[in-house]
Subunit: 345 residues, 2 copies
């Protein structure tokens, strides 16, 4: 019998690594291939950045509680966020859709309203795509291109011991928004006439359904002439991203639990769900804030950056990746993520 | 009740046009947005070309008779073909996959073998992508980037009356290969022990399962210093592509039925299936040859081009889009395509 290895044994990142481990690049124009938030391609005085994301119904979104307009908006934002994570300016996107005939023209108009709104907000041009039938559900594939001067591009690999670790906004709220929406869905399915009361949870819901990308941070870096030493966007939870930076930069790090910014609404909701707010921030994902590191010399300028949080420090690789808990203990940081191919990821 | 317009009332192209009719571009770097085989973006001395295609299991491929390695190869080829259709050189691709847990690591290794082989054959770098779970089936989204000098880029919109219409290879075989595979599938499902005999139909099967992109044509144009006046790749059948060129160029055209190249195996198989071979060429699709037009002055050079076929001429818009039949009649050319969202497209 043929050998059959379940894809879950490798996890998402392990699977990609396994399938692409022997991939090399041939073109001198390919400045960076697989392994960062975006690929980097030679393009005259600046370099072009390319990043792509796939959103699949039933995996990344549930149309029972996701308005199509918000979905279109979010699909653009998550891609634009990858360009910002390279310290670039997003310029173009292509949008491909696979749609079952369950979707009406009006439904797709709603989706496109969100796509176009995000294009306007983030100043990106919709330049192409592909629209095709699907036997089931909706799949959205977006590719974003952006631009940066070669010397301004920030990679995951530039962090060094002593660098300060920062994030651009609070964490965990998007995950808790999702838990809330999932709970309301259960309530609705059990009693379809019940009216959900989400008015007071607006922040959490918005962080889940209509996230924004950290464009202001990139503008601030430019204005203040600061170049982070490394950067990544927080799509899979803080812990996973700290691991990516440490792996690419061959360094260790510690995160101060007490410094991880968690919105009061997220804190409250976590406790209601009997979840540890810190775990929601570390492993929840979908916050689309940026995690970046800076040289100590830039600390003064970063302190004045609007809504920035200093959460830890880069250390030598031999010191490992640690969480300094609020209780005064030191634990190994663990990236649990939601990486199973039979679950939400 | 909410208005609900079935997407099939618009068809694929109508739907895209409807959803994107108000899309404009803001960046000076965006040289061309929606509407050709690829978008064109400013990139120094050359321009960058970007094209994207989505392949969905159950719509674009059937894994009962499509080896995963061939599928990976074809997925790259169809994208690279779009770059050639702009007279560009393909350089990079990103590959995104949505996979259900029905697929094993070994199955994905096969798919990647084909992707990597095509990358090698067409000299393109695999530079990124996204891998995610899917509740059902396999979806492949590939974005290809390429490059061309701005003045060398060939658009759909440059054809003018008097230009000669040419194609780079024979048509209809991929469609007939598909009919053959579908028939064998039916036979197999009815009697799983029956052994299919496809040895003598190798050409048709290969055109369907492992098409090649017309790279040699692009190399020939460069070598001979010929620039076609318009070009498009034949993914949806000759008729549909002639319409695209005529619409973009605001011209008419006639196609000589007797000049449409049809491989003898395709001819024979069409008759066995009681299909009109010309209709298979006009509406079958997936041939991935290039349809291009040239100025009359370049005719002499084009005659020496390997495997080129001159099939008709561009006329004034008022003369319409016509088929000169082998029987001596003139009909309106019709693009039936396979454009329904509830069918193969």
């Amino acid at each position: 019998m043929e050998k059959r290895t379940d894809i879950n044994t490798l996890g998402e990142f392990g699977l990609i690594e396994h399938l692409t481990k022997d991939v090399t690049t041939q073109h001198a124009n390919t400045l960076l291939g697989i392994g960062d938030d975006a690929a980097v391609i030679e393009a005259g005085d600046k370099a072009m950045l390319i990043s792509t994301d796939l959103l699949v119904e039933g995996i990344h979104f549930d149309l029972m509680y996701t308005p199509l307009k918000h979905l279109g908006y979010k699909a653009v934002v998550v891609n634009v966020s990858d360009i910002y994570a390279m310290n670039g300016v997003a310029e173009q996107i292509t949008v491909s859709l696979a749609i079952s005939n369950r979707f009406s023209v009006e439904a797709l108009e709603e989706l496109y309203k969100g796509i176009k709104l995000a294009c306007k907000m983030y100043n990106v041009d919709l330049v192409g795509g592909d629209t095709t039938a699907s036997p089931q559900g909706l799949t959205i594939s977006i590719t974003a291109t952006g631009r940066a001067k070669k010397e301004d591009i920030v990679y995951r690999s530039g962090a060094k011991a002593g660098d300060i670790m920062c994030i651009t906004g609070d964490l965990g709220a998007a995950y808790l928004g999702l838990q809330l929406l999932e709970r309301e869905k259960e309530v609705y399915l059990a009693a379809p006439t019940a009216q959900p009361d989400l008015e007071e949870k607006k922040y959490l819901i918005e962080r889940q359904l209509k996230p924004e990308a950290a464009r202001d941070a990139i503008a601030y870096f430019k204005k203040k002439n600061i170049k982070p030493t490394s950067m990544i966007d927080i799509s899979d939870g803080l812990a996973s991203e700290v691991f990516h930076i440490c792996k690419a930069s061959k360094v260790g790090a510690f995160v101060e639990e007490a410094k991880i910014p968690i919105h009061p609404e997220a804190e409250e909701m976590a406790l209601k769900f009997s979840l540890d707010p810190t775990m929601c921030a570390l492993n929840g994902g979908e916050d689309y804030e940026l995690l970046f590191t800076i040289d100590e010399k830039d600390l003064q300028e970063i302190r004045y950056m609007p809504s920035v949080y200093i959460i830890g420090e880069i250390t030598d690789a031999k010191d490992g990746i640690k969480l300094h808990t609020s209780g005064g203990n030191i634990h190994d940081l663990k990236a649990q993520g939601w990486k199973h191919f039979d679950e939400e990821e």
